[in-house]
């Protein structure tokens, strides 16, 4: 097991480095630097600015310093636009917000999704099943940027129950709509995957044996069926995590929650390269680490996997 984890780590580290290098190379290849503006700066001023941000160094030295600072000090360099901030400071401001509603959304999507899927599977071809399957299909064509305006329309403008944006230090009223908007699509997907894999497991021989032994249904489902049925769900969690992190950008922009996504989009509009690169790399590292955890869990649950 330990060697498996180590081997996966050995793959993860180069992936992260590749991501950093790709984004760095793109920055050099891009036409026009971050400090090019409508009114060209005098060359002396330009030289000064470039020296300040270390852009006058040879490319290889720049990449090396960049990677070294990230690895050793978790320092993504200064923001090119917001003069007094470093990228790390901006991330430190936005990340707790994203983490809060992201955590709840992920938890709700997984727990409710699995519960709904299991319910639909054991009540196969009844109204519960049809309702669950139908709403799952409906939710899968409602991406979060469509769902968010609809939610605001209903719960803020018509019913007036919940605030349509803002964060307010993370009060619960402000968290609910972002969480629903972010979680629904993945809840539906998880429910669908759980249902079909649960149906397959419930028809397999060992479940028949368990039923023949006269075990109560609850025990069969919880003890025997759930674990093998979770494998496809587990392998979906990696892509779901990526999609949710991506979706958080929409949530941040639409609800003005002040998470990382808001900085990301603002800096994308301002061409603030260092912030975009910092966020991209951070998100990439998170994703790769998450996939690593999923892989390990997978190997732990499924005894057939060789590691």
């Amino acid at each position: 097991m330990l060697s498996f984890i180590l081997r996966r780590l050995l793959v993860a580290i180069p992936t992260i480095l590749i991501l950093i290098v790709i984004s760095f190379v793109m920055m050099f290849a891009a036409p026009g630097g971050p400090f090019n503006s409508e009114r060209p700066l005098p060359p002396e001023v330009m030289a000064n600015i470039e020296a300040r941000y270390g852009l006058d160094q040879p490319y290889l030295v720049q990449i090396f310093t960049y990677v070294k600072n990230i690895v050793l000090h978790f320092d993504f360099g200064p923001s090119f636009r917001l003069r007094d901030y470093s990228v790390t400071e901006l991330i430190a401001q936005g990340f707790p917000v994203t983490l809060t509603y992201g955590f709840w959304a992920f938890l709700i999507a997984v727990v409710l999704g699995v519960a709904l899927g299991v319910l639909a599977a054991i009540r196969h071809n009844t109204w519960v099943d049809y309702l669950a399957t139908g709403s799952a299909i409906g939710a899968s064509v409602l991406p979060n940027f469509v769902l968010a305006p609809i939610l605001v329309l209903v719960f803020t403008l018509w019913l007036g129950w919940l605030p349509g944006g803002g964060w307010n230090g993370g009060q619960w009223q402000y968290i609910i709509l972002p969480v629903i908007a972010l979680a629904t699509t993945y809840l539906a997907a998880i429910a669908r995957i759980t249902r079909s894999s649960m149906l397959e497991v419930m028809n397999s021989n060992f479940i028949r044996t368990a039923r023949a032994k006269g075990l109560p249904m609850r025990r069969i489902i919880l003890r025997h069926a759930l674990k093998p049925a979770m494998l496809p769900v587990l392998s979906y969690l990696g892509p779901a995590f990526v999609a949710m992190i991506t979706g958080s950008v929409v949530i941040d922009v639409f609800f003005s929650t002040g998470g990382i996504g808001q900085y990301f989009v603002n800096s994308a509009l301002n061409r603030d390269y260092s912030v975009i690169m910092g966020v991209t790399i951070l998100v990439g590292v998170l994703t790769i680490l998450f996939n690593l955890v999923v892989d390990i869990l997978y190997a732990w649950i499924d005894p057939k996997i060789r590691y």
Binding site: M26, T246, V250
Partner: protein
């Protein structure tokens, strides 16, 4: 023989001697038996007609600004047949019907192009990887794995920011993402095809590997590829709309459904719900239809995978 074997009868019954049924006739029959898929296909044809010819039905184009309507949208820019603004106007006083036609067309195009790139690049990549096998296969699939574990939306936005937000860049970026999962699927299928006798026969008669891949492997992948290409289209449309929703995709005066939804959503509090409603309607119907058609195709072409 004393007893009668019903299974043998059943096996013989469908084999009508007069007309042979090809795989595709069979698939077509199965597809049209699926009501949701048939209705969705009709809906898609209608939407495509709307997107490419809808502008001829309206006296307005999507770029002319009617200055008398700015600011009085909620009362004057209402959807109506009398004014000719079937879908009302947007906050700049432009005809929303023409804008929706334009947006639907762009979203459709993005979906089709992304899916086409996926089909060409993904199929060739996957088929090559699967057919060559061994260490090459390992390396090629490892690359796909690595690329897949990167959150691509962020890289795509990075790309758009650094190289300018143009339509071409958007097409390139979407194309870059789309082929990955297709490559995996094509490879998996190739692995099972390459051990069939006809491939062996081709190898034995000295056909070059490239020709084997193009002549013998790829045509046999077609069914599965078509199914996943159809399912990829809505995904690509969602990607593009996502980026346009953030204001990073299509730039004015061009527009897409995502951009229209974004603008409509930002006007929610101003009493102009049609600005969100019409683009949203076309978006949702289009996605639903593509999903059902894809699903129907999967059942029709690849029945074992139900």
């Amino acid at each position: 023989m004393a007893f009668h074997d019903p299974t043998a009868d059943a096996l013989q019954a469908p084999a009508r001697p007069d007309k042979g049924r090809s795989l595709w006739t069979d698939a077509r029959r199965r597809f049209f038996r699926n009501k949701a898929a048939t209705v969705s296909l009709i809906a898609l044809v209608l939407i495509a007609l709307f997107a490419f010819f809808g502008q001829f039905l309206s006296p307005f184009d999507g770029e002319t600004v009617d200055f008398t309507l700015i600011g009085v949208n909620a009362t004057q820019g209402v959807p109506s047949f009398e004014t000719g603004h079937y879908f009302g106007t947007d906050q700049e006083g432009r005809d929303l019907y023409a804008r929706t036609v334009q947006g639907t067309r762009l979203s459709l195009l993005i979906g089709l192009v992304g899916s086409l790139v996926a089909v060409v690049v993904g199929t060739l990549y996957g088929a090559t990887s699967g057919y060559v096998g061994g260490r090459t296969d390992n390396a090629m699939m490892r690359i796909v794995d690595v690329l897949m574990s990167i959150p691509f939306m962020f890289v795509l936005i990075l790309l758009l920011v650094m190289f300018g937000r143009s339509l071409l860049m958007l097409f390139i970026g979407i194309g870059l993402i789309s082929w990955l999962s297709m490559a995996r699927i094509a490879r998996g299928q190739t692995l099972s095809i390459k051990n069939k006798e006809f491939v062996e026969a081709a190898v034995a008669t000295g056909v070059r590997p490239l020709t084997i891949i193009l002549r013998h492997i790829v045509p046999n992948l077609l069914g599965v590829v078509i199914v996943y290409a159809t399912l990829l289209i809505p995904e690509m449309i969602i990607y593009e709309s996502f980026i346009s929703f953030l204001g990073l995709g299509v730039q004015e005066p061009n527009t897409s459904l995502g951009a229209l939804i974004s603008r409509g959503a930002s006007q929610l509090g101003n009493g102009v719900p049609w600005q969100l409603g019409f683009p949203l309607f076309f978006f949702v119907v289009m996605l639903f239809a593509f999903f059902f058609v894809g699903d129907g195709l999967r059942d029709a072409i690849d029945p074992k995978d139900r």
